[in-house]
């Protein structure tokens, strides 16, 4: 019997809770079994499986004991035909309810599915068998992903059938931030052969700084059929007191392409892990990820990319800007399997520190079993704002602080530019802008304290 390893202070991950969630949601037995298996894996997994990372992120400040997880989500808005302008579909979750859902006529006619696990089980047994019962791309040995699978109160499925191309994005909006509550949610995304789609995840809530603890644990489990293309962008701006565990995992088929553009701005502690499994020949992933931390925020941004088939490509870029006492950990691993010949992979981790108390840790690693690579490289740099650039901008008439701000925002722009909806893009720019300003205000105060 393996020893059970709980997260410090986390007492609610029990079989009782798992059973009651499953009962509330009227799940079939096999889904309950799936949850219980995940609970067992959660219990026996160390906080970090990867020995390279173990010592780095301390979860003790998270007050799990003050968190009450939401029960099964049964309030689900019926779909309308009016998604927001420019979007193909919307699903909006607020705390423990799906408060809004919309699917454009075009998307509906093309057979796009956007609904909950309960709906899939009721209405689409074909998808249920394939997606819910099939193997998840989540790594079986990741404690946080398995915890979410065991305890999810809500499951969302996005399915784009074979050959369907949606130009407008599907928006998944998560407004979570009720004091003392925790939402566990799974999202399954599947694109059939040669389907093309864009998804925008918006994770935000204007929670008051009331000292209360909040938790969001979410998965995004992506399966891309052969030749499919998915652009998945995310803006995370959780409120104060929020801890988030984000597990994004993808299985990328033959000649399929996955593009991540992920921005982390809010929350107290963000523990994010991305797993890219390139399983089909010619599969490709491009990942750009930014974190902009201030105050005492902690961002732990890990990514694992496994080349499991020949001629696969991984282009992975993480950038972090940290001010005040913020800390950022950018941890990446590229693994090239012996069967994967002719791969091309690059991992870049770049940090910018704006204050003396900020800290950046980068661990870009490579594990290579197949030397027949077109490229296997990583690169990392950490530095302050380039004074040469500041000087240049000032010589063009910008005040010093404005010059610095432009350089920082320019550093983060590659992700912003890939956010699909113009409004969402503008919102992220404004968010980063405010973050910079907040840092300037907090700066002297923080150093005085």
């Amino acid at each position: 019997m393996t020893e059970r390893i709980d997260l410090p202070g986390l007492g609610f991950a029990t079989e009782d809770l798992v059973r009651s969630l499953s009962r509330d949601l009227e799940e079939p037995d096999w889904l309950l079994e799936q949850r219980l298996a995940a609970l067992a894996r959660y219990a026996e997994s160390p906080i970090e499986r990867n020995r390279l990372w173990t010592t780095y992120v301390d979860l003790r400040p998270v007050r799990f004991a003050e968190i009450e997880p939401w029960g099964g989500v049964d309030s689900v808005a019926a779909p309308t035909a009016d998604p927001p302008p420019g979007a193909a579909a919307l699903l909006h979750v607020r705390d423990d309810a799906v408060v809004e859902r919309a699917l454009s006529a075009e998307a509906r006619d093309a057979g796009v599915f956007l609904g909950t696990f309960s709906e899939v089980l009721r209405e689409r047994p074909d998808l249920a068998g394939e997606l819910l019962a099939g193997e998840s791309p989540l790594p079986a040995d990741d404690k946080f992903g398995q915890l979410t699978v065991a305890l999810h109160a809500l499951g969302v499925v996005v399915h784009v059938p074979q050959g369907v191309s949606l130009a407008a994005p599907i928006v998944l909006r998560w407004s979570v931030g009720a004091a003392g509550r925790g939402l566990f949610a799974r999202t399954l995304v599947s694109l059939g052969r040669d389907a093309h789609a864009r998804i925008l995840e918006e994770q935000a809530e204007a929670a008051p700084a009331d000292g209360a603890q909040r938790l969001y644990a979410g998965t995004t489990e992506v399966r891309l059929g052969d030749g499919a293309t998915l652009d998945l962008a995310a803006e995370q701006d959780f409120g104060p007191g929020t801890v988030s565990f984000l597990n994004r995992a993808a299985s990328v088929g033959r000649d399929a392409t996955l593009r991540w553009a992920l921005a982390s701005v809010g929350g107290d502690l963000v523990k994010s892990r991305i797993d890219n499994d390139l399983v089909g020949r010619g599969a490709s992933v491009q990942q750009v990820e930014i974190g902009f931390g201030g105050g005492s925020q902690l961002f732990d941004l890990s990514s694992y990319t496994r080349h499991l088939a020949p001629d696969t490509t991984g282009d992975l870029l993480s950038k972090g800007v940290f001010q005040d006492r913020a800390r950022g950990y950018m941890k990446g691993l590229i693994a090239i399997d012996r069967l994967a010949t002719g791969t091309d992979s690059f991992l870049g981790e770049f940090g910018m520190l704006l204050s003396r108390k900020a800290r950046s840790v980068t661990i870009p690693s490579l594990e290579i079993d197949q030397p027949d690579v077109r490229r296997a490289a990583h690169s990392s740099s950490v530095g302050p704002i380039d004074e040469g650039q500041v000087f240049y901008a000032m010589s063009r008439g910008l005040p010093r602080d404005v010059a610095r701000k432009h350089i920082v925002l320019g550093f983060l722009e590659p992700v912003v530019a890939r956010i699909p909806l113009p409004e969402a893009q503008e919102r992220l720019r404004a968010l980063l802008d405010r973050k910079w300003d907040a840092g300037r205000e907090a700066g002297p105060a923080a150093s005085a304290a």
Binding site: R51, L353, R356, S360, I363, P371, S380, S381, G383
Partner: protein, 603 residues
């Protein structure tokens, strides 16, 4: 006892595989207990504080779990190891006083010649005790101390009390604790204020007894403004059971000093090589680790270089081929063994009125424009380059012509030469597991750290190596360059740490890791940790992993090289960052060994 040319050739394959039958004067029982520790200390008649230090370390060794990361260490059996063996009663001052059998071993390794020819001082360690040590008289006169660590402890107690165990405390890791408990031998170096030691100091370590653990402890204290280059080389005979080498090296570079520490490691396939090497760089000091975890360059280099023993008159065409100062002679020595008779591509380099013929990968000392001289293979030389070809001098002459001289049996010298080395089996017999991360703590403002690490992992080996630079003071600089080659199923892992602590402002740091994999059975891992806690740090890191480019091979083959030669040349180019930091006699041998290894690599 000098070996003749014939003997060297005849002994080729077994040169380093011999095991001496030595009756040890003292040895401890197998296994480690508190008594073993006390016994070692008693043998050595040590001061009380050292015994206490050993016991404290012993307690920590027991309490400390085995590391769970890195290479597989599960096969180490601490109970089978003999922790202390003493072959000789005392450290000898003169080579002639060393017991005959031990002397023979070191003669085979070429140490006396090394001392006479190139080095400022040599220490030789045979199992646990340093048997021979000398420093050139003039160095002694100006206060340079180079002796066994045990003797140093007796003669310079104040330096030991001040520095011993301060850079690597016993609590640092399990193997440092083990070393601290049972250490014996190693080198002690002290360079007084402002003294520059003009030539490298050099030490050899050798494990002879089966299941002997070797736990040498080296302490190097370089006083303010002083300068020294220390070279450590190793070799071990091949045994079926496993030996453990757990050394600790402590370097203290006091303000304004400059220390370079070069390691060329070659333990046999059975050895677990678990070494803690660390330096403290104080204000404006510079510390450089040049660390090669590959074949032994020292033993065979020097044996083969023994021009005294290799009659030049017996050689026919060799002098045309090399022409590099005093080292020229040893190259010629190898040309005689042309029995191999393998035709090879040869280039003629014409410079300063001489014609030198050499295979394309043969390194020449080249100077370009205002750059410092570097070792470049013939194939990289272009007319106009300045090359050193004159005997016994380092004069540089411009290359007036370069010609491809076809595949010639006559100029088979690389094969002939390397065959002497093939013989020693050194390159092939690296240690089974190496875990070694030379580190530099930059403690004083303006200190500089430079680490160059090279690892070649062959069959059955795991080279888990890397480097650490810890910036603790403002205005400090560090550079880490790691190059690894893995082949025949070997695994090369780079594991490094770069840390900029709070308060260490205005730091400039770079880490570069490159790995070359020669076949698809091998594996390469890169794990850099980069932890920056100051906002005005300028850090950059890059890593690449790849195989030999077929385009490059094709290109070189189109220029008349065989596939083997082409691959070899590419590997040499890859490792050049390391080679060019070596003293020239080492650089030649290093390239030769790489070539040798490459020949074995390809069917």
């Amino acid at each position: 006892m000098a070996l003749t040319q014939r003997e060297i050739v005849a002994n080729d394959r077994s040169k380093f595989d011999f095991k001496d039958e030595i009756v040890y004067l003292r040895e401890t029982k197998r296994g480690l207990t508190r008594d073993t520790v006390e016994e070692i200390s008693r043998f050595k008649d040590e001061p009380e504080w050292m015994l206490k230090f050993r016991l404290r370390a012993y307690d920590h060794f027991l309490a400390r779990p085995m590391p769970t990361w890195g290479a597989d260490l599960s096969h180490i059996d601490f109970d089978r190891i003999v922790y202390y063996r003493k072959p000789s009663e005392r450290e000898e001052k003169s080579w002639d006083d060393v017991p005959e059998q031990i002397k023979a071993t070191f003669e085979r390794l070429g140490i006396p010649e090394a001392e006479r020819k190139f080095l400022s001082g040599v220490g030789a360690q045979y199992d646990s005790e340093v048997v021979y040590h000398s420093v050139r008289e003039e160095l002694t006169k100006i206060g340079v101390v180079f002796m066994g660590t045990d003797q140093g402890l007796k003669e310079y107690p104040e330096i030991f009390e001040k520095y011993f165990g301060t850079v690597v405390p016993p609590e640092d890791n399990k193997f440092a604790a083990l070393n601290s408990a049972v250490w014996s031998g190693g080198s002690f170096v002290y360079v007084p204020k402002g003294v520059e030691v003009p030539l490298p100091l050099q030490a050899y370590f050798r494990i002879n007894g089966e299941n002997t653990g070797q736990f040498e402890r080296t302490l190097i204290v370089v006083d303010e403004g002083a300068k020294v280059h220390y070279i450590e080389g190793c070799t071990a005979p091949i045994y079926a059971t496993d030996s453990l080498h757990a050394a600790v090296v402590e370097v203290i570079a006091l303000p304004g000093s400059k220390v370079r520490y070069t390691t060329i490691q070659n333990w046999s396939n059975d050895v677990y090589n678990l070494v803690t090497k660390r330096a403290h760089a104080h204000e404006n000091a510079t510390v450089e680790w040049i660390d090669a975890n590959t074949g032994c360059l020292t033993g065979d280099t020097l044996v083969a270089r023994g021009s005294d023993h290799v009659p030049i008159s017996a050689i026919r065409t060799g002098d045309q081929v090399v022409g590099l100062g005093s080292d020229l002679s040893l190259e010629l020595g190898r040309v005689t063994a042309t029995k191999e008779n393998r035709p090879q591509a040869v280039f003629e380099v014409e410079a300063g009125g001489r014609v030198v013929r050499a295979t394309p990968n043969h390194p020449f000392l080249v100077r370009r424009a205002q750059a410092a001289p570097m070792w470049l293979p013939v194939a990289s030389i272009v007319p106009g380059d300045l090359v050193a070809i004159a005997d016994g001098s380092t004069d540089f002459s411009p290359v007036s012509a370069m010609r491809y001289a076809g595949e010639q049996v006559t100029y088979d010298i690389e094969v002939a030469g390397t065959h002497n080395f093939v013989a020693n089996g050194v390159f092939v017999h690296n240690s089974r597991v190496t875990m070694k991360y030379p580190s530099i703590y930059l403690r004083g403002r303006g200190a500089t750290a430079d680490i160059i690490s090279v690892a070649v992992a062959g069959k059955g080996q795991h080279q888990d190596t890397g480097a650490k630079a810890v910036h603790l003071a403002p205005d400090t600089k560090s550079r880490i360059v790691s190059k690894s080659v893995s082949k025949d199923g070997g695994r090369a892992t780079y594991r490094g740490q770069l840390k900029v602590a709070p308060g260490a402002t205005n730091v400039v740091a770079s880490v570069r890791c490159d790995a070359l994999m020669l076949d698809d059975q091998s594996r390469s891992d890169t794990y850099p940790y980069i932890d920056i806690q100051e906002d005005d740090t300028h850090m950059s890191h890059e890593a690449t992993v790849g195989k030999i480019s077929q385009d490059q091979v094709f290109y070189l083959m189109s220029r008349g090289l065989t596939e083997n030669e082409a691959q070899n040349l590419i590997v040499q180019g890859f490792l050049e960052v390391f080679t060019k930091e070596l003293p020239m006699e080492y650089a030649i041998e290093f390239n030769r060994l790489v070539k040798l290894e490459m020949e074995g690599a390809l069917g």
